[in-house]
């Protein structure tokens, strides 16, 4: 078999044309497609990374807000407790003061009543003493003593009037 040079050259040229056509119509578009895909994937990964960062940032902000809210709630609770304690103390103090005032008033009235009773009793005792003396004197002074008493007083009467 003879090797035909023209056919070889023709085949080479053919091959070259096919290669060229393949390179132009297939290889370059496919490469471009692959590159575009690669770029898209990279962009998506970058976007995902940003989203993750944003998520972490939001998470931090959420934590911070929770802590602040918790602190505020605690402060409100403490303030409310303190105010309640102070109010209770004020009410208690007022009640004690009222009780003391009432006690003092009661004691004063009691003392007054005792004094009045004592005065009444004194008056009654005086009256009783005078009545007793009256009775005793009435019985003790006989006719002789009466006359003696009058005799003694006549001179004094004359001197005085």
């Amino acid at each position: 078999m003879e090797i035909q040079l023209t056919q070889i050259i023709f085949q080479i040229i053919n091959f070259g044309v096919v290669l060229g056509a393949l390179t132009y119509f297939v290889y370059k578009p496919v490469l471009k497609l692959l590159n575009d895909r690669r770029e898209k994937v990279a962009a998506a990964a970058a976007a995902a990374g940003e989203v993750m960062q944003e998520k972490e940032e939001l998470e931090r902000v959420r934590e911070k807000t929770l802590v602040k809210a918790s602190q505020k709630a605690k402060k409100i609770e403490d303030d409310a407790k303190r105010e309640a304690r102070e109010q209770a103390k004020a009410i208690l103090d007022q009640a004690k003061a009222e009780m003391t005032a009432r006690e003092n008033k009661f004691n004063a009235e009691l003392t007054k009543m005792k004094k009045e009773e004592l005065k009444k009793n004194e008056a009654m005792i005086k009256q009783a003493a005078v009545l007793m003396a009256e009775k005793v004197l009435g019985q003790a002074i006989d006719a002789k003593k009466h006359q003696k008493l009058i005799d003694e007083q006549i001179d004094q009467v004359i001197e005085s009037l």
């Binding site: 005078v130 004197l137 006359q147 009058i150 009467v157 004359i158």
Partner: protein, 71 residues
């Protein structure tokens, strides 16, 4: 005429009356005196004599009243 009122728990004897009247007359020689005797058993004893607004109360009652006032 000046009236003298003499109150006593028991009646004065005549001698006592005379003594009193004589004494008073000597003390007030210029005056014409009239004597009124009252029996007041509530005086308990002694005399109570009043004259022209003046009172001399030496009765037992008066002394009891003084005692009551001091108590």
């Amino acid at each position: 005429m000046l009236q003298i009122t003499i109150a006593s728990a028991v009646a004065l004897s005549d001698e006592q009356k005379k003594k009193l009247e004589t004494g008073m007359q000597k003390k007030h020689p210029q005056e014409e005196l009239s004597f009124v005797y009252q029996l007041q058993p509530q005086l308990l004893g002694g005399l109570s004599v009043s004259m022209a607004g003046k009172l001399y109360d030496a009765s037992v009652r008066a002394r009891l009243n003084q005692l009551a006032a001091k108590l």
